[in-house]
Point group: C2
DNA sequence: CTTATGCCTTGATCCTTGTCAAAAGCGGGC
DNA sequence: GCCCGCTTTTGACAAGGATCAAGGCATAAG
């Protein structure tokens, strides 16, 4: 088992996080998709007074595995990873979150996994205590949080099938299709992956070499095309879909 | 990849499930631990009128992967597995549930995984629509459901680390300690596993042969003791704990 | 434009685990 | 108490993927 101690990943928040408290919900790009959607103006306003905007740079960590659960947040934009690791440094990415997703552990003392920005990102950050109190008083918000948590659980369990039972080929194919669904391709049909090869390996429970070999092979057979380090074009999605469940 | 089509596992519910509608919540053994705990007498009574008790035999399936989500339930006693599989028959167990746990997919159209009894079991079964309506009107119940779902998600993510990054030895050690925590040992310190070797393999994302070899080896080194097919004694929990994260 | 720094790719080899096959042993039924 | 069926164990072998080791190539800095 290889060990990595990736210092760049562990940059703590700067002493004073760049807060944009002046920003309100009115011009928030995720207001209709995040859990705050459905709140009336007064409630949304009350919630916004609890939170503050925070900007993160790629590589910054907001929450640590096993640390006190002091904050929760909505993702305004950017991509972040949720990860756990063994004592000897093996890492497993247990979730990737995007704009409008919710992060952190409400109603619990500890954060069971770390949260780290993969790209530059903006969050709408709430102290957990205040957020918990607000949620308890607003059934609609709690309901949306429940819906989202149930969906997360479904997705997570589907991923367990991949980790436990799929081959390297199937894992990579599933991953690429999943990225194609979540990320928008540019005019040339190229997707800009928010993850490095190592991080893809950490999502799939395999190694960087295996990911690289599988992707190269898929390029050779014309199923995908690789553009620079982070670019992928899904040339033949049907073929990719087929690779999802067969030798 | 091996394929199994385990017919005994797929026994459908009998045409008329043995219902014990006469049973009330008053003498329910899980009333203080299931999500209904915390409801006042009137509300609990209303909820009980929605549900009915059902008895399952080991091997019976209550919900199917991808099927309509028509019912949800509290487990009164027994052990059940949650599972997903690939089109070619590889199975991954994504959860094991015990007395007082909640099963099924509220607030969603489809059940994303199957639910099958591992031992004889009793459920308190609710039609999903009625349950959803009740939950929407009772914030306390919804809050308990949220708490439980958040805990499930945390446990599930912890299990992803096992599936993606742990060795066979570490997987089996982690599994045995987990069982030791959840199940009570008898006077001799022997735990009666609710899972066959194959099912253990399906939980750990490995094969029956690997599970067997690891357990035999642990017995040889005196860390555990094997008693019949389903019995295990955790002789040296500290040593087992050590095997959880090292070669 | 040139150079330097990491990522990423590629190659060779090893080894853990999966696969195939058969023997052993537990448990239930007669 | 004995036998039969099925689970579990054990063995031999194969292979997919991990590990070790260079080398190539984007990307950013000078």
């Amino acid at each position: 088992m290889e060990m990595r101690f990736d210092m760049a990943q562990n940059g703590a928040l700067p002493p004073v996080a760049r807060s944009c408290g002046g920003q309100s919900c009115e011009n928030c790009v995720v207001r209709d998709h995040a859990i705050c959607a459905g709140l009336d103006d007064a409630d949304r306003d009350a919630l916004s007074r609890i939170g503050r905007r925070v900007t993160l740079q790629a590589g910054q960590t907001v929450m640590w595995e096993g640390g006190d659960s002091t904050v929760v947040a909505n993702v305004i934009d950017g991509t972040l990873k949720l990860a756990t690791s063994t004592g000897d440094g093996r890492e497993q990415i247990v979730g990737v979150v995007y704009a409008a997703d919710f992060i952190g552990r409400p109603f619990g003392a500890r954060t069971p996994h770390s949260v780290t920005a993969l790209t530059d990102a903006r969050l709408c950050l709430f102290p957990r205590g205040s957020f918990d109190g607000f949620a308890l008083r607003h059934g609609e918000l709690q309901h949306r949080l429940l819906q989202r948590t149930l969906d997360d659980l479904d997705r997570t369990r589907a991923w367990m099938l991949l980790l436990g039972r799929k081959t390297a080929r199937e894992k990579v194919a599933t991953f690429l299709l999943d990225m194609g669904r979540r990320l928008r391709a540019d005019a040339d049909g190229v997707i800009d992956l928010p993850l490095s090869r190592q991080q893809i390996a950490d999502v799939l429970g395999t190694t960087i070499e295996t990911v690289s070999r599988q992707m190269t092979e898929m390029k050779r057979t014309g199923v995908i095309d690789l553009v620079g380090r982070r670019g992928v074009r899904l040339v033949d999605s049907a073929a990719l879909e087929a690779l999802t469940e067969a030798g």
